[in-house]
Amino acid sequence: MVQIVYATVKNLDQPIGGVIVQAAHVASLRRAGFDAKIASSYEGGLPPWVDQDAVFENSNQLAIGPGDILVLHDSLPRHTFDRVMSMPVRRVFFCQNHYFLGGTLQPHERLSDFPIDAFLCVSEPIAAHLRDAHGVADPFVIRPAIRPAIGPADEKKIQVCYMPRKRMIEFGSVMYGLRYLYPHIAGTPFVSIHNRHPNDVAAIMAESAVFLSLSRNEGLGLPPLEAMAAGCVVVGYHGGGGLDYATAANGRWYDEATPDNLVHLLAETILSLRADPNAFSGLVEAGRQTVAGYTDQAMDDALLDFWRSFL
């Protein structure tokens, strides 16, 4: 049987979103009867934070031959990329973040110049980039699944949950701007989801009325989707790849170069919710409809569609 080998990064000590998605592909393919595996030079075996239906192989000991398929990721060092291009295998390029491709390719190089048989990606903005900047004719979009949300609390707290890691300065501007410019709502609780267990994240989102999105240069960006699933009003940045799902109907999106006006957008949201907890019910409902495209079933269907036609 043809092997489908998802190459992944060396260091798997800490959870990495992109690896979780790779492992989800492998697990889904194996459940459908394919000989899929994830491979890395990591010595620790299959990490506990990925789908345990996936199979891990140490890439230093993996036998791969003509007819097998190597699924490349978007953060390959150039020397590895070149070596893989000369191997007698079929190649599929799986892009989860198009912003980092410049680390592998020179500005004048296009992915379509290389012997790659097919392209996968996780969002339409990535697909557009592959088409427009790299001359890839038909990138195939397989959207990852978000974790099932805990149903929103009966009565949500006027509370802002957020993931600050990628925009610390913007977060500081907003939080302290709220304190000084809107002192009457400065007591609004802010709860970080950074480094929290996924179950805790789901619980925090379920009880929070607002999610402050601090996405930056994302291939897709899952936290805003998870917040939509939990019934939060999403306020903030879509991070580029979030344009896969961000519309004026499902979030209060902000796309300015400085955060100067974000505090006003957030304050207006909080004030509206204080006056009427249902002030954004239409937006929240649109958010719930949006996340329907990011389920395990939708991912499995797209994944199997691709692999069955490719093989």
Partner: protein, 305 residues
């Protein structure tokens, strides 16, 4: 006596030094005492009795400790308002030695005045001597082109992403030479900037924009983000300013702007001329009068404290 205190290794060291030096030169020319103090945890390198110390609010704690011990009045500059809240700043309110907080630019001043810091907020206009600046000997280039692009600020992957989109997308831009302008040393910055037709700015959030004013004073079109440092003066007539947090949008607007620059020499000339006027209006000579009033008020407050 105004004592500007600078510490080796602090952010924007070169910009601050240029600003301080421009103020010192003019204060001294007007008969006022002023000096630059390079401080490294040695109290002998601080302004003496009767002075007022000016330094970045994000300074190391031991600088304030020395100033407090010696009872030297001070006026911290909130050099980068965007990171102000992540720094320890409550001492502005509580310390009797703080005579005022200083804001970089009018918009920052208006914003900081709303924040009830417990002390008056004075607005400074941040400028310095421009590089090789001689308006009377300005060399007006007839043949405008876009062949050498300087890139300033931003992370390497963001620069690579934008460079890749421009290079792959448009043959007219594919042959451009790209120059990395991120140099802290002034001479290196000058050497790299000279000969650029355009400066692409991916500058992060900040309170000042001396490098961008340098370029505008040198007839180099500035395109991109000013990071908040030029929000008082940036307009569509003096630069290709982009107000988006999305790199694709930035790249798209940059390519539109660069292609128009190459194809429309009249617009190119208008941008250069208006940017030059903006640089003149914000030069250290043009802005010192406003700042002098601030320095006088600070001195009076320090004396009466």
């Amino acid at each position: 006596m105004i004592g500007f205190v600078l510490m080796e290794g602090e952010p924007a060291y070169s910009e601050k030094r240029r600003f301080y030096q421009g103020q010192i030169d003019r204060l001294r020319a007007g008969g006022q005492a002023a000096g630059l103090y390079e401080f490294s945890d040695d109290a002998r390198h601080l302004p003496g009795d009767g002075a007022i110390a000016v330094f970045d609010v994000a300074c190391r704690k031991f600088l304030r400790r020395h100033l407090d011990e010696r009872q030297i009045p001070h006026a911290p500059i909130i050099w980068n308002p965007y990171i102000f809240f992540q720094t320890d700043h409550h001492w502005i309110r509580t310390s009797d030695l703080v005579v005022s907080a200083l804001a970089p630019g009018r918009e920052s001043g208006r914003m900081l005045q709303k924040l009830a810091l417990g002390k008056s907020v004075e607005t400074l206009r941040i400028s310095a001597e421009y590089l090789d600046f001689n308006p009377s000997a300005r060399n007006i280039v007839d043949h405008l082109q876009v062949s050498r692009i300087g890139c300033f600020g931003g992370s390497q992957f963001a620069i690579d992403f934008i460079k890749g989109i421009l290079t792959r997308g448009w043959p007219e831009l594919a042959e451009c030479e790209w120059v990395d302008l991120d140099a802290e040393a002034l001479e290196e910055w000058r050497d790299r900037l000279v000969g650029c037709d355009v400066l692409i700015s991916l500058r992060g959030l900040c309170g000042s924009a001396l490098p961008l004013l340098d370029a505008m004073a040198s007839d180099i079109v500035v395109a991109g983000m000013h990071g908040g440092g030029l929000r008082d003066v940036a307009c569509p007539e003096n630069g290709i300013w982009i107000n988006s947090a999305t790199l694709e949008t930035v790249a798209e607007e940059l390519s539109d702007g660069l292609l128009r620059l190459a194809a429309d020499p009249v617009w190119h000339r208008q941008l250069i001329d208006r940017a030059f006027e903006t640089a003149i209006e914000n030069s250290v000579d043009a802005t010192f009068g406003d700042n002098l009033e601030v320095w006088k008020r600070l001195t009076e407050r320090a004396l009466s404290a």
